[in-house]
Symmetry: C2
Subunit: 316 residues, 2 copies
């Protein structure tokens, strides 16, 4: 039986294998994905983002616990973009989530990237679809929030949590993260630390300045102490409240559309990059790099030349 | 006179305008860039990366001051990937660098992204080349360090500084950032804070574990208090030491090659994404999104279809 078929029967091992094959960019995995698409769109996708050290993994862990108690099945995708440098996903504080590792209702997958810019976003969205097709009710996507790709992934979520902590530099951090635009829900974690109430008040007054119309979603600011599992219920309530809002306001199609557009663009990028890397067994790109370094070509001319080769290949 | 010609005469206004046109993705700007390439490769590129709030901008500001005292001209590119959400570069703490704004030997440019994934890396590398062609001796590229694109930009620098601060979660932060692989120089900023010496010792023992061969670069760990301009001279010395090492060890060609490869790939990506967004006045992509959402196509088929259209267009 093909991996995709097994995924549709709820086979977690098959799902894990399919995600690995996507990560490794096996062409057959892409074909498997194609047969999964008609079975996706049922899972609810929650993005969890914020700077390193704010407590994203612990919050995610708490949310897993909460949703499991509600008899929801959960998928978790932990994205580690920086591991491109180390050649593999570093578990780090994600080890904490291992308390759920024996629960068949929880499927956790760490993703790293190895390829071109964009490979990670592609793998992440494919992993979301695999978990969706597997029948997971809630899919939590945890990612460090400051890169372009992570923002794209977060934009594709149904509900996005942006996690902050009280402390010096938070105002700047807030501005930098562009959080008012990105966040459906703001989380002030480590709420027992000094400055938590002030940060909450600051965020709320910024949200007032933003002044959405009454029919728009008003992002709430939730205080949590993830390490003590405090505030989890309120946070989960806010997530479900946002989902209800999206459904009632007709906002869901827009989210799905954003996700679909991103996915198509990623697929094209992957198609083209695969082509370039394989051209003349990889020698072509290196020859072009030589030509460029020696002033015999320039990036625009090289881009036209490469796409010309692509056109020739497609004509055959 | 074309902008590129003006840049080559040292015209800062022309350089600023050219970078803006690259950001806005004007096709003529790409052609201008092509005529600049033969005049690049002289500037020394220093990447400054780290999490939000560690003091990157203040350190950069100090380095500007130091290199100006050495009569070096300086270019600064401040990259704000998250501003994709807010629609423009937020100056934030970069306002601090304004003390150099009246010095013609300092050219500071903030970059935001507006387009597809990858657009920012392309704009950043073009901006580096413009500053190089303008004759800047030292080009400082400041970026938040946790996204894939930022890592690619950092990989393309000649010397990369990774900035950390003492405090809770630093060990995890260290691992996450994959800093041992990325950093040519590690900076422990806010060195007056508790835990700075321990962090330095931890980093040094991790570097020992990495155990490079004697002929390899041994990344130093430098303590700074950027806010008091302390440690700047030592840091600048380390940068120049790394440059000397690269030149003597024959490592420069590898750095240039990495940068050239990245630039070619970005150019192809830009070429293809421009094509897709313009196809049938933008309607084509939206129609494909519709088809995908209604199950009439899937990403792989759509990618083949789009590249087929590209092939047709190139054949004409």
């Amino acid at each position: 039986m093909a991996l995709a078929e097994k995924v549709l029967t709820g086979d977690v091992q098959a799902a894990a294998r399919l995600i690995s094959r996507i990560e490794d960019e096996f062409p057959d995995a892409l074909a498997e994905m194609d047969s999964l698409y008609p079975h996706t769109g049922k899972g609810y996708i929650v993005g969890v983002t914020g700077a390193p050290g704010v407590g994203k993994s612990t919050l995610t862990d708490n949310l897993i616990g909460y949703f499991r108690k509600q008899n929801k099945t959960v998928g978790v995708i932990a994205i580690d973009p920086t591991s491109a440098l180390t050649g593999g996903a570093i578990l780090g504080d994600r080890v904490r989530m291992q308390r759920h590792s024996t629960d068949p209702g929880v499927f956790i997958r760490s993703l790293a990237t190895r390829g071109w810019v964009g490979g990670l976003a592609r793998a992440a969205i494919s992993a979301i679809h695999v978990m969706d097709a597997l029948g997971r009710d809630i899919i939590l996507v945890e990612t460090v929030g400051s890169g372009q790709i992570e923002i794209d992934i977060v934009k594709a979520a149904d509900t996005t949590l942006v996690v902050l902590t009280p402390g010096a530099g938070d105002e700047i951090q807030t501005m930098k993260a562009g959080i008012l635009e990105a966040a459906d829900i703001l989380v002030v974690n480590k709420a027992d630390k000094e400055g938590a109430d002030r940060l909450k008040a600051d965020l709320e007054s910024m949200l007032e300045l933003k002044a959405p119309r009454p029919e728009e979603w008003q992002s709430p600011v939730i205080l949590t102490e993830a390490i003590h599992d405090k505030g989890t219920e309120e946070l989960a309530g806010a997530i479900l409240g946002h989902r209800e809002f999206l459904v009632n306001s007709g906002g869901m199609p827009g989210r799905l559309r954003e996700r679909a557009r991103l996915e198509l663009l990623e697929a094209v990028e992957g198609f083209v990059s695969d082509f370039i890397y394989r051209l003349d067994g990889g020698d072509y790109l290196e020859k072009l790099v030589d030509d460029f370094l020696q002033g015999r070509t320039n990036p625009q001319r090289a881009a036209r030349e490469i796409t010309g080769r692509l056109a020739d290949a497609l004509d055959k």
